[in-house]
Symmetry: C2
Protein backbone atom coordinates (compact mmCIF):
# COMPACT_ATOMS: atom_id res chain seq x y z
CA UNK A 1 0.00 0.00 0.00
CA UNK A 2 2.75 2.42 0.91
CA UNK A 3 4.45 1.98 -2.41
CA UNK A 4 1.52 3.56 -4.19
CA UNK A 5 0.91 6.30 -1.69
CA UNK A 6 2.34 9.05 -3.85
CA UNK A 7 0.13 8.02 -6.73
CA UNK A 8 -2.87 7.97 -4.47
CA UNK A 9 -2.36 11.56 -3.47
CA UNK A 10 -1.75 12.96 -6.91
CA UNK A 11 -4.96 14.23 -8.35
CA UNK A 12 -4.60 13.59 -12.01
CA UNK A 13 -6.07 15.90 -14.58
CA UNK A 14 -6.03 14.16 -17.88
CA UNK A 15 -5.99 17.17 -20.10
CA UNK A 16 -2.96 18.50 -18.33
CA UNK A 17 -1.28 15.13 -18.38
CA UNK A 18 -1.83 15.21 -22.12
CA UNK A 19 0.15 18.42 -22.33
CA UNK A 20 3.18 16.66 -20.94
CA UNK A 21 2.97 13.75 -23.36
CA UNK A 22 4.84 13.79 -26.65
CA UNK A 23 2.36 14.65 -29.38
CA UNK A 24 2.25 12.01 -32.06
CA UNK A 25 -0.17 10.24 -34.31
CA UNK A 26 -1.10 7.50 -31.89
CA UNK A 27 -3.45 4.71 -32.87
CA UNK A 28 -6.97 5.46 -31.65
CA UNK A 29 -8.63 2.68 -29.65
CA UNK A 30 -11.95 2.00 -31.36
CA UNK A 31 -15.36 1.91 -29.73
CA UNK A 32 -14.80 3.85 -26.51
CA UNK A 33 -14.91 7.46 -25.37
CA UNK A 34 -11.46 8.96 -25.67
CA UNK A 35 -9.60 11.13 -23.22
CA UNK A 36 -8.34 14.55 -24.30
CA UNK A 37 -4.82 13.10 -24.39
CA UNK A 38 -5.89 10.37 -26.79
CA UNK A 39 -7.83 12.79 -28.99
CA UNK A 40 -4.89 15.19 -29.21
CA UNK A 41 -2.41 12.43 -29.96
CA UNK A 42 -4.64 11.29 -32.84
CA UNK A 43 -4.86 14.72 -34.52
CA UNK A 44 -4.01 14.72 -38.21
CA UNK A 45 -0.83 16.60 -39.21
CA UNK A 46 -2.87 19.15 -41.17
CA UNK A 47 -4.90 20.07 -38.08
CA UNK A 48 -1.78 21.72 -36.67
CA UNK A 49 -0.57 25.01 -38.14
CA UNK A 50 2.92 26.48 -37.76
CA UNK A 51 3.20 29.99 -36.35
CA UNK A 52 3.73 32.59 -39.05
CA UNK A 53 7.14 34.18 -38.32
CA UNK A 54 5.84 37.58 -39.53
CA UNK A 55 3.13 37.32 -36.92
CA UNK A 56 5.18 36.08 -33.98
CA UNK A 57 7.17 37.98 -31.34
CA UNK A 58 9.98 36.72 -29.13
CA UNK A 59 10.21 38.47 -25.77
CA UNK A 60 13.70 37.65 -24.51
CA UNK A 61 14.22 37.62 -20.74
CA UNK A 62 17.15 36.40 -18.65
CA UNK A 63 15.07 33.31 -17.91
CA UNK A 64 14.44 32.52 -21.56
CA UNK A 65 12.10 33.28 -24.44
CA UNK A 66 8.39 34.09 -24.26
CA UNK A 67 6.63 33.49 -27.61
CA UNK A 68 3.66 35.68 -28.52
CA UNK A 69 1.31 35.16 -31.46
CA UNK A 70 -0.20 38.41 -32.76
CA UNK A 71 -3.88 38.80 -33.69
CA UNK A 72 -3.99 41.15 -36.72
CA UNK A 73 -7.55 40.07 -37.57
CA UNK A 74 -8.69 41.80 -34.37
CA UNK A 75 -6.05 44.49 -33.82
CA UNK A 76 -4.39 45.19 -37.19
CA UNK A 77 -2.97 48.59 -36.30
CA UNK A 78 -1.69 47.52 -32.90
CA UNK A 79 -0.14 44.32 -34.26
CA UNK A 80 1.64 46.32 -36.98
CA UNK A 81 2.77 49.00 -34.52
CA UNK A 82 4.16 46.53 -32.01
CA UNK A 83 6.14 44.93 -34.84
CA UNK A 84 7.37 48.38 -35.89
CA UNK A 85 8.40 49.12 -32.30
CA UNK A 86 10.21 45.78 -32.12
CA UNK A 87 11.96 46.41 -35.44
CA UNK A 88 13.30 49.77 -34.31
CA UNK A 89 14.43 48.04 -31.06
CA UNK A 90 12.23 50.26 -28.95
CA UNK A 91 11.70 47.58 -26.28
CA UNK A 92 15.33 46.46 -25.99
CA UNK A 93 16.66 47.27 -22.54
CA UNK A 94 13.28 48.31 -21.13
CA UNK A 95 11.82 46.39 -18.18
CA UNK A 96 8.93 44.60 -16.59
CA UNK A 97 7.74 47.34 -14.26
CA UNK A 98 4.60 45.75 -12.80
CA UNK A 99 3.55 42.30 -11.61
CA UNK A 100 0.17 42.35 -9.90
CA UNK A 101 -0.93 39.09 -8.32
CA UNK A 102 -3.82 37.31 -10.04
CA UNK A 103 -3.91 40.05 -12.65
CA UNK A 104 -1.17 41.24 -15.02
CA UNK A 105 2.53 41.52 -15.83
CA UNK A 106 3.34 44.78 -17.63
CA UNK A 107 6.48 46.06 -19.32
CA UNK A 108 7.56 49.38 -20.78
CA UNK A 109 9.93 52.26 -20.30
CA UNK A 110 10.60 52.88 -16.58
CA UNK A 111 11.84 56.36 -17.53
CA UNK A 112 8.82 57.39 -19.56
CA UNK A 113 8.11 60.27 -17.17
CA UNK A 114 11.62 61.61 -17.56
CA UNK A 115 11.80 63.99 -20.56
CA UNK A 116 15.55 63.48 -20.87
CA UNK A 117 15.84 59.75 -20.37
CA UNK A 118 12.58 58.55 -21.91
CA UNK A 119 13.09 56.18 -24.83
CA UNK A 120 12.31 57.94 -28.09
CA UNK A 121 10.23 56.45 -30.87
CA UNK A 122 11.49 56.79 -34.43
CA UNK A 123 9.11 55.37 -37.03
CA UNK A 124 6.44 53.63 -34.99
CA UNK A 125 3.41 55.41 -33.56
CA UNK A 126 3.43 56.44 -29.88
CA UNK A 127 -0.35 55.99 -29.66
CA UNK A 128 -3.16 54.59 -31.78
CA UNK A 129 -6.93 54.68 -31.99
CA UNK A 130 -8.66 51.98 -29.96
CA UNK A 131 -9.12 48.50 -31.39
CA UNK A 132 -11.23 47.23 -28.49
CA UNK A 133 -13.66 45.41 -30.78
CA UNK A 134 -14.27 44.94 -34.50
CA UNK A 135 -17.33 44.63 -36.73
CA UNK A 136 -19.11 41.29 -36.57
CA UNK A 137 -18.07 39.26 -39.61
CA UNK A 138 -19.66 35.91 -40.30
CA UNK A 139 -16.82 35.01 -42.67
CA UNK A 140 -14.23 34.94 -39.89
CA UNK A 141 -13.91 31.33 -38.69
CA UNK A 142 -15.51 30.89 -35.27
CA UNK A 143 -15.84 27.73 -33.20
CA UNK A 144 -18.46 28.41 -30.54
CA UNK A 145 -18.53 26.96 -27.04
CA UNK A 146 -21.97 25.53 -26.34
CA UNK A 147 -22.44 26.39 -22.65
CA UNK A 148 -22.88 30.14 -22.58
CA UNK A 149 -20.92 32.88 -20.89
CA UNK A 150 -21.58 35.36 -18.10
CA UNK A 151 -20.35 38.38 -20.08
CA UNK A 152 -21.22 37.86 -23.76
CA UNK A 153 -24.03 36.37 -25.80
CA UNK A 154 -21.59 34.10 -27.63
CA UNK A 155 -18.01 32.93 -26.97
CA UNK A 156 -15.64 30.62 -28.75
CA UNK A 157 -12.36 30.54 -30.67
CA UNK A 158 -11.14 32.18 -33.84
CA UNK A 159 -7.68 31.60 -35.28
CA UNK A 160 -6.49 30.25 -31.94
CA UNK A 161 -7.80 33.17 -29.88
CA UNK A 162 -10.66 33.33 -27.36
CA UNK A 163 -13.34 35.52 -28.90
CA UNK A 164 -16.71 36.91 -27.80
CA UNK A 165 -19.40 38.01 -30.22
CA UNK A 166 -22.58 40.06 -30.03
CA UNK A 167 -24.55 39.66 -33.21
CA UNK A 168 -27.15 42.22 -32.16
CA UNK A 169 -24.51 44.86 -31.44
CA UNK A 170 -22.70 43.86 -34.64
CA UNK A 171 -19.42 43.42 -32.77
CA UNK A 172 -16.83 40.77 -31.99
CA UNK A 173 -13.74 41.05 -29.80
CA UNK A 174 -10.83 39.21 -28.24
CA UNK A 175 -11.68 38.08 -24.71
CA UNK A 176 -9.39 38.52 -21.71
CA UNK A 177 -7.95 35.33 -20.30
CA UNK A 178 -4.76 33.71 -19.13
CA UNK A 179 -1.84 34.62 -21.41
CA UNK A 180 -3.66 37.25 -23.45
CA UNK A 181 -1.49 40.24 -24.40
CA UNK A 182 -2.78 43.80 -24.58
CA UNK A 183 -1.69 47.42 -24.96
CA UNK A 184 -1.89 49.39 -21.70
CA UNK A 185 -3.62 52.74 -21.99
CA UNK A 186 -4.52 55.80 -19.94
CA UNK A 187 -8.01 57.18 -19.55
CA UNK A 188 -8.39 58.22 -23.18
CA UNK A 189 -9.36 55.41 -25.55
CA UNK A 190 -6.57 56.40 -27.97
CA UNK A 191 -3.81 56.68 -25.36
CA UNK A 192 -2.46 53.14 -25.89
CA UNK A 193 -0.58 51.85 -28.89
CA UNK A 194 1.80 49.15 -27.70
CA UNK A 195 4.73 50.92 -26.02
CA UNK A 196 3.54 49.34 -22.76
CA UNK A 197 2.23 45.80 -23.05
CA UNK A 198 0.55 43.59 -20.44
CA UNK A 199 -0.08 39.87 -20.12
CA UNK A 200 -2.87 38.35 -18.01
CA UNK A 201 -1.42 36.05 -15.32
CA UNK A 202 -4.57 35.32 -13.30
CA UNK A 203 -8.32 34.84 -13.41
CA UNK A 204 -9.70 36.06 -16.73
CA UNK A 205 -10.45 39.80 -16.11
CA UNK A 206 -13.41 39.85 -18.47
CA UNK A 207 -14.50 43.29 -17.26
CA UNK A 208 -11.56 44.64 -19.30
CA UNK A 209 -13.13 43.29 -22.51
CA UNK A 210 -14.12 46.11 -24.89
CA UNK A 211 -12.17 48.54 -22.69
CA UNK A 212 -8.64 47.98 -23.93
CA UNK A 213 -6.92 46.60 -27.02
CA UNK A 214 -5.86 42.96 -26.90
CA UNK A 215 -3.42 42.13 -29.68
CA UNK A 216 -2.13 38.60 -29.13
CA UNK A 217 -1.47 35.77 -26.74
CA UNK A 218 1.50 34.01 -25.19
CA UNK A 219 1.86 30.55 -26.75
CA UNK A 220 5.01 29.50 -24.89
CA UNK A 221 6.83 30.67 -21.78
CA UNK A 222 3.94 31.88 -19.58
CA UNK A 223 5.61 30.39 -16.51
CA UNK A 224 8.46 32.91 -16.87
CA UNK A 225 5.97 35.75 -16.44
CA UNK A 226 3.54 34.21 -13.96
CA UNK A 227 6.23 33.24 -11.45
CA UNK A 228 7.86 36.67 -11.23
CA UNK A 229 7.97 38.34 -7.81
CA UNK A 230 4.91 40.51 -7.28
CA UNK A 231 5.50 44.25 -7.10
CA UNK A 232 5.05 45.86 -3.69
CA UNK A 233 3.62 49.17 -4.89
CA UNK A 234 0.05 50.09 -5.72
CA UNK A 235 -1.30 47.92 -8.55
CA UNK A 236 1.79 45.71 -8.39
CA UNK A 237 4.32 48.24 -9.64
CA UNK A 238 7.89 47.61 -8.53
CA UNK A 239 8.95 50.37 -6.20
CA UNK A 240 12.70 50.20 -6.82
CA UNK A 241 14.48 50.14 -10.19
CA UNK A 242 16.59 47.16 -9.12
CA UNK A 243 13.45 45.05 -8.68
CA UNK A 244 12.44 45.49 -12.30
CA UNK A 245 13.02 42.59 -14.68
CA UNK A 246 15.08 43.61 -17.72
CA UNK A 247 13.57 43.06 -21.16
CA UNK A 248 16.57 42.03 -23.24
CA UNK A 249 14.75 42.43 -26.53
CA UNK A 250 11.59 41.86 -28.47
CA UNK A 251 12.08 40.52 -31.99
CA UNK A 252 9.74 39.66 -34.83
CA UNK A 253 10.43 35.94 -35.43
CA UNK A 254 10.89 36.58 -39.17
CA UNK A 255 13.90 38.78 -38.33
CA UNK A 256 15.57 36.02 -36.32
CA UNK A 257 17.79 33.53 -38.19
CA UNK A 258 15.75 30.36 -38.86
CA UNK A 259 18.08 28.23 -36.75
CA UNK A 260 17.36 30.44 -33.71
CA UNK A 261 13.58 30.41 -34.03
CA UNK A 262 11.22 28.49 -31.78
CA UNK A 263 9.25 26.27 -34.14
CA UNK A 264 5.79 26.00 -32.62
CA UNK A 265 2.61 24.56 -33.99
CA UNK A 266 -0.87 25.49 -32.77
CA UNK A 267 -3.86 23.18 -33.05
CA UNK A 268 -6.29 24.79 -35.50
CA UNK A 269 -9.35 25.90 -33.59
CA UNK A 270 -11.48 25.25 -36.68
CA UNK A 271 -10.31 21.62 -36.78
CA UNK A 272 -12.36 18.52 -36.06
CA UNK A 273 -9.89 17.60 -33.32
CA UNK A 274 -10.40 20.91 -31.50
CA UNK A 275 -14.16 20.31 -31.62
CA UNK A 276 -13.62 16.87 -30.11
CA UNK A 277 -11.37 18.39 -27.43
CA UNK A 278 -14.15 20.78 -26.46
CA UNK A 279 -16.43 17.79 -25.89
CA UNK A 280 -13.72 15.96 -23.93
CA UNK A 281 -13.25 19.01 -21.72
CA UNK A 282 -16.99 19.29 -21.14
CA UNK A 283 -17.21 15.62 -20.25
CA UNK A 284 -14.05 14.62 -18.45
CA UNK A 285 -13.01 10.99 -18.81
CA UNK A 286 -10.62 8.78 -16.97
CA UNK A 287 -10.63 7.15 -13.57
CA UNK A 288 -10.17 10.30 -11.51
CA UNK A 289 -13.30 12.28 -12.39
CA UNK A 290 -16.31 11.11 -10.41
CA UNK A 291 -18.58 13.94 -11.54
CA UNK A 292 -18.59 15.39 -15.04
CA UNK A 293 -19.66 19.02 -15.33
CA UNK A 294 -20.95 18.55 -18.88
CA UNK A 295 -19.99 22.19 -19.40
CA UNK A 296 -16.91 24.30 -20.18
CA UNK A 297 -16.31 28.00 -19.82
CA UNK A 298 -14.11 30.12 -22.07
CA UNK A 299 -11.30 30.56 -19.54
CA UNK A 300 -10.87 26.82 -19.06
CA UNK A 301 -10.69 25.89 -22.74
CA UNK A 302 -7.05 26.14 -23.76
CA UNK A 303 -5.60 25.85 -27.25
CA UNK A 304 -2.90 23.16 -27.58
CA UNK A 305 0.55 24.24 -28.73
CA UNK A 306 3.43 21.91 -29.54
CA UNK A 307 7.15 22.37 -29.99
CA UNK A 308 9.21 19.69 -31.66
CA UNK A 309 12.04 20.41 -29.26
CA UNK A 310 10.09 20.55 -26.00
CA UNK A 311 7.24 18.82 -24.25
CA UNK A 312 4.10 20.56 -25.54
CA UNK A 313 2.10 22.92 -23.39
CA UNK A 314 -1.52 23.85 -23.78
CA UNK B 1 3.09 66.01 -21.48
CA UNK B 2 6.11 63.94 -20.64
CA UNK B 3 5.66 64.49 -16.93
CA UNK B 4 2.39 62.58 -16.92
CA UNK B 5 3.44 59.89 -19.31
CA UNK B 6 3.73 57.22 -16.66
CA UNK B 7 0.28 57.97 -15.43
CA UNK B 8 -1.06 57.81 -18.93
CA UNK B 9 0.20 54.31 -19.49
CA UNK B 10 -0.97 52.87 -16.24
CA UNK B 11 -4.34 51.28 -16.71
CA UNK B 12 -6.06 51.86 -13.46
CA UNK B 13 -8.43 49.38 -11.97
CA UNK B 14 -10.28 51.03 -9.20
CA UNK B 15 -11.18 47.98 -7.23
CA UNK B 16 -7.56 46.96 -7.03
CA UNK B 17 -6.49 50.44 -6.18
CA UNK B 18 -8.95 50.21 -3.32
CA UNK B 19 -7.14 47.20 -2.02
CA UNK B 20 -3.99 49.24 -1.61
CA UNK B 21 -5.71 52.06 0.23
CA UNK B 22 -5.86 52.15 4.00
CA UNK B 23 -9.34 51.03 5.01
CA UNK B 24 -11.10 53.58 7.14
CA UNK B 25 -14.49 55.04 7.69
CA UNK B 26 -14.28 57.75 5.07
CA UNK B 27 -17.06 60.26 4.57
CA UNK B 28 -19.30 59.21 1.68
CA UNK B 29 -19.88 61.86 -0.98
CA UNK B 30 -23.63 62.17 -1.35
CA UNK B 31 -25.63 61.98 -4.55
CA UNK B 32 -23.22 60.25 -6.91
CA UNK B 33 -22.40 56.68 -7.86
CA UNK B 34 -19.53 55.49 -5.70
CA UNK B 35 -16.46 53.57 -6.71
CA UNK B 36 -15.68 50.26 -5.04
CA UNK B 37 -12.92 51.99 -3.11
CA UNK B 38 -15.34 54.55 -1.71
CA UNK B 39 -17.93 51.91 -0.85
CA UNK B 40 -15.38 49.80 0.97
CA UNK B 41 -13.95 52.75 2.87
CA UNK B 42 -17.45 53.59 4.08
CA UNK B 43 -18.23 50.11 5.46
CA UNK B 44 -19.49 50.07 9.04
CA UNK B 45 -17.20 48.47 11.61
CA UNK B 46 -19.75 45.70 12.25
CA UNK B 47 -19.70 44.71 8.59
CA UNK B 48 -16.19 43.38 9.11
CA UNK B 49 -15.67 40.16 11.09
CA UNK B 50 -12.41 39.03 12.66
CA UNK B 51 -11.09 35.59 11.73
CA UNK B 52 -11.85 32.97 14.37
CA UNK B 53 -8.45 31.72 15.63
CA UNK B 54 -9.87 28.20 16.05
CA UNK B 55 -10.79 28.27 12.38
CA UNK B 56 -7.60 29.76 10.96
CA UNK B 57 -4.35 28.14 9.85
CA UNK B 58 -0.92 29.69 9.46
CA UNK B 59 1.23 28.06 6.79
CA UNK B 60 4.76 29.23 7.57
CA UNK B 61 7.22 29.41 4.66
CA UNK B 62 10.70 30.93 4.44
CA UNK B 63 9.08 33.86 2.63
CA UNK B 64 6.50 34.50 5.33
CA UNK B 65 3.06 33.46 6.53
CA UNK B 66 0.13 32.32 4.42
CA UNK B 67 -3.19 32.66 6.28
CA UNK B 68 -5.98 30.18 5.53
CA UNK B 69 -9.58 30.40 6.73
CA UNK B 70 -11.25 27.01 7.10
CA UNK B 71 -14.79 26.26 5.93
CA UNK B 72 -16.30 23.85 8.48
CA UNK B 73 -19.84 24.57 7.26
CA UNK B 74 -18.93 22.82 4.00
CA UNK B 75 -16.18 20.41 5.02
CA UNK B 76 -16.54 19.76 8.77
CA UNK B 77 -14.56 16.54 8.88
CA UNK B 78 -11.75 17.80 6.67
CA UNK B 79 -11.48 21.09 8.55
CA UNK B 80 -11.26 19.19 11.85
CA UNK B 81 -8.75 16.69 10.46
CA UNK B 82 -6.45 19.34 9.02
CA UNK B 83 -6.46 21.04 12.43
CA UNK B 84 -5.68 17.68 14.07
CA UNK B 85 -2.82 17.13 11.62
CA UNK B 86 -1.50 20.63 12.33
CA UNK B 87 -1.76 20.07 16.08
CA UNK B 88 0.27 16.88 15.94
CA UNK B 89 2.80 18.78 13.76
CA UNK B 90 2.29 16.42 10.85
CA UNK B 91 3.04 19.11 8.26
CA UNK B 92 6.13 20.57 9.92
CA UNK B 93 9.18 19.98 7.74
CA UNK B 94 7.19 18.67 4.77
CA UNK B 95 7.37 20.53 1.46
CA UNK B 96 5.62 22.08 -1.49
CA UNK B 97 6.12 19.31 -4.03
CA UNK B 98 4.13 20.65 -6.98
CA UNK B 99 3.59 24.03 -8.64
CA UNK B 100 1.68 23.73 -11.90
CA UNK B 101 1.30 26.92 -13.89
CA UNK B 102 -2.21 28.40 -14.04
CA UNK B 103 -3.45 25.57 -11.84
CA UNK B 104 -2.30 24.57 -8.32
CA UNK B 105 0.39 24.60 -5.65
CA UNK B 106 0.39 21.39 -3.61
CA UNK B 107 2.24 20.34 -0.48
CA UNK B 108 2.68 17.11 1.42
CA UNK B 109 5.19 14.44 2.38
CA UNK B 110 7.80 13.99 -0.38
CA UNK B 111 8.64 10.63 1.18
CA UNK B 112 5.12 9.28 1.30
CA UNK B 113 6.06 6.41 -1.01
CA UNK B 114 8.92 5.36 1.22
CA UNK B 115 7.67 2.94 3.90
CA UNK B 116 10.61 3.75 6.17
CA UNK B 117 10.79 7.53 5.81
CA UNK B 118 7.11 8.37 5.33
CA UNK B 119 5.77 10.71 8.01
CA UNK B 120 3.51 8.82 10.39
CA UNK B 121 0.13 10.05 11.58
CA UNK B 122 -0.67 9.74 15.27
CA UNK B 123 -4.19 10.86 16.14
CA UNK B 124 -5.53 12.40 12.94
CA UNK B 125 -7.12 10.39 10.16
CA UNK B 126 -5.04 9.46 7.10
CA UNK B 127 -8.12 9.58 4.86
CA UNK B 128 -11.75 10.66 5.13
CA UNK B 129 -15.01 10.21 3.28
CA UNK B 130 -15.63 12.80 0.57
CA UNK B 131 -17.09 16.21 1.43
CA UNK B 132 -17.43 17.35 -2.18
CA UNK B 133 -20.87 18.87 -1.59
CA UNK B 134 -23.41 19.19 1.18
CA UNK B 135 -27.21 19.16 1.43
CA UNK B 136 -28.91 22.34 0.26
CA UNK B 137 -29.83 24.37 3.32
CA UNK B 138 -31.85 27.54 2.97
CA UNK B 139 -30.82 28.63 6.48
CA UNK B 140 -27.15 29.01 5.50
CA UNK B 141 -26.58 32.66 4.57
CA UNK B 142 -26.13 33.05 0.82
CA UNK B 143 -25.58 36.23 -1.18
CA UNK B 144 -26.30 35.40 -4.83
CA UNK B 145 -24.61 36.91 -7.85
CA UNK B 146 -27.25 38.04 -10.32
CA UNK B 147 -25.58 37.24 -13.67
CA UNK B 148 -25.59 33.47 -13.86
CA UNK B 149 -22.78 30.95 -14.17
CA UNK B 150 -21.61 28.49 -16.81
CA UNK B 151 -21.38 25.56 -14.39
CA UNK B 152 -24.12 25.90 -11.79
CA UNK B 153 -27.71 27.07 -11.60
CA UNK B 154 -26.84 29.51 -8.81
CA UNK B 155 -23.61 31.02 -7.48
CA UNK B 156 -22.77 33.48 -4.76
CA UNK B 157 -21.05 33.80 -1.40
CA UNK B 158 -21.58 32.21 1.97
CA UNK B 159 -19.51 33.06 5.03
CA UNK B 160 -16.84 34.58 2.82
CA UNK B 161 -16.55 31.62 0.45
CA UNK B 162 -17.60 31.27 -3.20
CA UNK B 163 -20.48 28.81 -3.29
CA UNK B 164 -22.58 27.14 -5.98
CA UNK B 165 -26.05 25.74 -5.35
CA UNK B 166 -28.43 23.42 -7.16
CA UNK B 167 -31.83 23.53 -5.52
CA UNK B 168 -33.23 20.79 -7.74
CA UNK B 169 -30.37 18.41 -6.89
CA UNK B 170 -30.65 19.51 -3.25
CA UNK B 171 -26.93 20.30 -3.07
CA UNK B 172 -24.58 23.18 -2.40
CA UNK B 173 -20.78 23.22 -2.60
CA UNK B 174 -17.68 25.37 -2.40
CA UNK B 175 -16.60 26.52 -5.86
CA UNK B 176 -13.04 26.37 -7.14
CA UNK B 177 -11.36 29.71 -7.67
CA UNK B 178 -8.19 31.65 -6.97
CA UNK B 179 -6.89 30.93 -3.47
CA UNK B 180 -9.26 28.09 -2.64
CA UNK B 181 -7.69 25.30 -0.59
CA UNK B 182 -8.55 21.62 -1.05
CA UNK B 183 -7.51 18.12 -0.04
CA UNK B 184 -5.75 16.22 -2.85
CA UNK B 185 -7.06 12.72 -3.44
CA UNK B 186 -6.44 9.66 -5.58
CA UNK B 187 -9.05 7.95 -7.72
CA UNK B 188 -11.21 6.80 -4.82
CA UNK B 189 -13.54 9.45 -3.43
CA UNK B 190 -12.41 8.64 0.13
CA UNK B 191 -8.66 8.69 -0.57
CA UNK B 192 -8.15 12.33 0.48
CA UNK B 193 -8.27 13.70 3.99
CA UNK B 194 -5.89 16.62 4.19
CA UNK B 195 -2.38 15.18 4.38
CA UNK B 196 -1.76 16.73 0.96
CA UNK B 197 -3.34 20.13 0.40
CA UNK B 198 -3.56 22.23 -2.77
CA UNK B 199 -4.25 25.90 -3.46
CA UNK B 200 -5.59 27.21 -6.78
CA UNK B 201 -3.13 29.70 -8.34
CA UNK B 202 -4.78 30.20 -11.75
CA UNK B 203 -8.02 30.34 -13.68
CA UNK B 204 -10.86 28.91 -11.58
CA UNK B 205 -10.81 25.15 -12.41
CA UNK B 206 -14.54 24.76 -12.01
CA UNK B 207 -14.51 21.26 -13.52
CA UNK B 208 -13.02 20.13 -10.20
CA UNK B 209 -16.16 21.25 -8.35
CA UNK B 210 -18.02 18.30 -6.81
CA UNK B 211 -14.98 16.11 -7.54
CA UNK B 212 -12.74 16.96 -4.63
CA UNK B 213 -13.08 18.41 -1.13
CA UNK B 214 -12.45 22.12 -0.76
CA UNK B 215 -11.96 23.09 2.87
CA UNK B 216 -10.91 26.75 3.01
CA UNK B 217 -9.33 29.69 1.28
CA UNK B 218 -6.16 31.74 1.51
CA UNK B 219 -7.01 35.17 2.93
CA UNK B 220 -3.46 36.56 3.01
CA UNK B 221 -0.16 35.65 1.38
CA UNK B 222 -1.31 34.23 -1.97
CA UNK B 223 1.61 35.94 -3.71
CA UNK B 224 4.04 33.69 -1.82
CA UNK B 225 2.44 30.65 -3.44
CA UNK B 226 1.57 32.03 -6.88
CA UNK B 227 5.10 33.31 -7.58
CA UNK B 228 6.90 30.04 -6.79
CA UNK B 229 8.97 28.47 -9.57
CA UNK B 230 6.88 26.06 -11.62
CA UNK B 231 7.82 22.38 -11.35
CA UNK B 232 9.41 20.86 -14.43
CA UNK B 233 7.90 17.40 -14.11
CA UNK B 234 4.54 16.13 -15.30
CA UNK B 235 1.67 18.08 -13.69
CA UNK B 236 4.16 20.57 -12.23
CA UNK B 237 5.82 18.23 -9.74
CA UNK B 238 9.34 19.23 -8.77
CA UNK B 239 11.74 16.64 -10.11
CA UNK B 240 14.54 17.11 -7.57
CA UNK B 241 14.23 17.24 -3.77
CA UNK B 242 16.31 20.44 -3.64
CA UNK B 243 13.71 22.27 -5.74
CA UNK B 244 10.96 21.63 -3.21
CA UNK B 245 9.90 24.50 -0.96
CA UNK B 246 10.09 23.59 2.74
CA UNK B 247 6.93 23.93 4.82
CA UNK B 248 8.25 25.16 8.15
CA UNK B 249 4.99 24.52 9.96
CA UNK B 250 1.25 24.74 9.89
CA UNK B 251 -0.36 26.02 13.08
CA UNK B 252 -3.90 26.62 14.21
CA UNK B 253 -3.98 30.34 15.00
CA UNK B 254 -5.54 29.66 18.41
CA UNK B 255 -2.36 27.77 19.37
CA UNK B 256 -0.13 30.72 18.49
CA UNK B 257 0.50 33.36 21.20
CA UNK B 258 -1.86 36.30 20.58
CA UNK B 259 1.05 38.68 19.98
CA UNK B 260 2.25 36.51 17.10
CA UNK B 261 -1.08 36.19 15.36
CA UNK B 262 -2.04 37.94 12.13
CA UNK B 263 -5.15 39.92 12.99
CA UNK B 264 -7.26 39.90 9.87
CA UNK B 265 -10.80 41.01 9.27
CA UNK B 266 -12.97 39.81 6.41
CA UNK B 267 -15.85 41.82 4.99
CA UNK B 268 -19.05 39.95 5.79
CA UNK B 269 -20.51 38.61 2.57
CA UNK B 270 -24.01 38.99 4.01
CA UNK B 271 -23.41 42.72 4.65
CA UNK B 272 -25.02 45.61 2.85
CA UNK B 273 -21.56 46.83 1.83
CA UNK B 274 -20.73 43.55 0.11
CA UNK B 275 -23.98 43.80 -1.84
CA UNK B 276 -23.02 47.30 -2.90
CA UNK B 277 -19.57 46.08 -3.92
CA UNK B 278 -21.16 43.46 -6.17
CA UNK B 279 -23.04 46.25 -7.94
CA UNK B 280 -19.88 48.36 -8.20
CA UNK B 281 -18.03 45.43 -9.72
CA UNK B 282 -20.83 44.82 -12.22
CA UNK B 283 -20.87 48.50 -13.18
CA UNK B 284 -17.33 49.82 -13.03
CA UNK B 285 -16.96 53.49 -12.22
CA UNK B 286 -14.16 55.96 -12.55
CA UNK B 287 -12.53 57.66 -15.49
CA UNK B 288 -10.75 54.64 -16.89
CA UNK B 289 -13.68 52.39 -17.78
CA UNK B 290 -15.27 53.31 -21.09
CA UNK B 291 -17.51 50.26 -21.30
CA UNK B 292 -19.25 48.73 -18.31
CA UNK B 293 -19.97 45.02 -18.56
CA UNK B 294 -22.99 45.27 -16.27
CA UNK B 295 -22.15 41.73 -15.22
CA UNK B 296 -19.81 39.89 -12.86
CA UNK B 297 -18.78 36.25 -12.74
CA UNK B 298 -17.94 34.29 -9.61
CA UNK B 299 -14.20 34.18 -10.24
CA UNK B 300 -13.92 37.96 -10.50
CA UNK B 301 -15.82 38.78 -7.31
CA UNK B 302 -13.29 38.84 -4.50
CA UNK B 303 -13.97 39.18 -0.78
CA UNK B 304 -12.12 42.07 0.87
CA UNK B 305 -9.74 41.29 3.72
CA UNK B 306 -7.98 43.84 5.91
CA UNK B 307 -5.04 43.70 8.28
CA UNK B 308 -4.46 46.48 10.78
CA UNK B 309 -0.73 46.10 10.30
CA UNK B 310 -0.58 45.89 6.50
CA UNK B 311 -2.16 47.36 3.42
CA UNK B 312 -5.31 45.31 2.85
CA UNK B 313 -5.63 42.87 -0.01
CA UNK B 314 -8.79 41.52 -1.55
Amino acid sequence: MQTKKRLVFVFTVFWLAAAAMPAQNAPVPAGKALTAAEILAAARADEWRPLDPENTLYLELAGGRVVIELAPVFAPQHAANVKALAREKYYDGLAIIRVQDNYVVQWGDPEDENPVKARSIRKARPTLPAEFERPFDESIPFTPLPDGDVYASEVGFSGGFPVARDRKAGKMWLAHGYGMVGAARGNASDSGGGTQLYVVIGQAPRHLDRNITLLGRVVQGMEMLSSLPRGGGAMGFYEKPEQMIPVRSIRVAADVPPAERTELEVLRTDSETFGRLIEARRNRRGDWFLFSAGRIDLGNMTVPVRDKNRAPET
